[in-house]
Symmetry: C2
Subunit: 248 residues, 2 copies
């Protein structure tokens, strides 16, 4: 009996790289639950996960179905769940004796935290990472990534990431946005957002750093730049949560 985590594949050594599936992997590792990853290519999410499991997708802002991962299937209960916070709630209810993602009764605050990370932290990185995502995915996903990203941004894939002065401004905006997050860790006293105790919110933050580091590689100058922000606060966070980063 095990949990199957449906995650997006890539050509990277450990395959895993997308932030939202990393949230769920961090939760599963933190809880010490037995799981294995089933690797999916982007164009196959609907047929190989949603249709196969009979899971109803959430809706995007425009009302169309969001065929996105993570999805889990729990072979012990037969239950399938989509969306990282819903999965966290399922795991909390189903396995109450494992370490809690919402310790000290904080479930409401943890859910509200999902909307708290400033867009100024994530949006610029999102644009910078589009070409990196295209670069690291497998051949089976490349056409899908190009088509969907070009539609979303309204320009050729090669023109999505900012360049020149625009890149400098976007990068500064991202650094300032992450400054808000760094200030939270300073205020909590660290190392985590609840002080001494790990919780969902830390996984919500660190998943973006895992994605950035794995997509860029540790030797990339842009990663070195992120690593230098706010006194190295985020490299420290990656290190403080290292034990939950295994890919099983």
């Amino acid at each position: 009996m095990t949990i199957i985590l449906y995650d997006l594949s890539s050509a990277l050594p450990q395959k895993a790289f997308t932030p939202n599936t990393w949230k769920t992997r961090l939760c599963l590792n933190y809880k010490g639950l037995p799981y294995k990853t089933e690797w999916i290519e982007f164009p196959d999410i609907k047929t190989d996960v949603y249709d196969k499991l009979g899971v109803t997708p959430a809706s995007k802002a425009d009302g169309s179905p969001a065929w996105v991962l993570p999805v889990i299937h729990d072979t012990a209960t037969g239950v399938s769940v989509a969306e990282s916070f819903a999965i966290a709630e399922y795991l909390e209810k189903t396995y109450p004796s494992t370490p809690s993602l919402f310790p000290h009764g904080t479930i409401v605050f943890q859910e509200l935290f999902n909307g708290a990370v400033p867009a100024s932290a994530l949006e610029p990185l999102g644009r910078f990472f589009v070409p990196e995502v295209y670069r690291v995915v497998n051949p089976a996903s490349k056409e899908f990534i190009r088509r969907t990203r070009e539609a979303a941004f309204g320009k050729a894939l090669e023109d999505i990431a900012p360049t020149g002065d625009e890149a400098v401004a976007a990068w500064a905006k991202a650094e300032a946005g992450w400054g808000t997050i760094a200030a939270w860790y300073a205020k909590s006293g660290g190392p985590f957002l609840l002080g001494p105790t790990v919780s969902w919110a830390d996984f919500y933050v660190v998943c973006w750093l895992i994605t950035a580091r794995s997509a860029l590689g540790e030797e990339d100058q842009r990663w070195k730049n992120i690593a230098s922000w706010h006194g190295g606060r985020f490299v420290q966070l990656l290190d403080d949560l290292k034990e939950y980063q295994a890919v099983l």
Copy 2:
């Protein structure tokens, strides 16, 4: 040695009625700190509180100074502090052995909660309560309330509260907004937002209910309406936090 809480006066039996100063009173009562209220009329906030204590006001969205209460002055330390969350932080740091407003290391989550209460819950009530505020304040504050509210809403005081179909729609919107808050209490398991433990966030919610009940009076049909929302959830919350509602 005591703390002075500067609060807005009214003609109501216990005077206290504005939500933000109630947040601080709830905090002081919860911590069991010795304090006494100094009653201020609206037009006197600048001279009798800010100027007298030498406190720098926060800025409104338009950059003008926000001469607002609560402000406290702690005679034990000589420190004066404005703004309810800043006061809560001051009390936590200065009196660490009193019951915590941010238990279990939740300070970051509590501060983020300040932006979480939906505008749809508060805005309609804000408009309904303008004539009630005018009614309950002392003669010394009436001209001030009329002038500032008419400027803010761009219409005569008597025309600010919705009527007819608009009132029905605004009231329904407020009820739906409070439904979001009721769902949080259901999810936490209650009676408080951290489950069994009182925290700042509960005071953030209940202050609006205290204001509504005191301004309208318990026999008012509109209060009875609020009291009936979501299975009487909010009357229960008022009752669960009753012991912190003394006016000293």
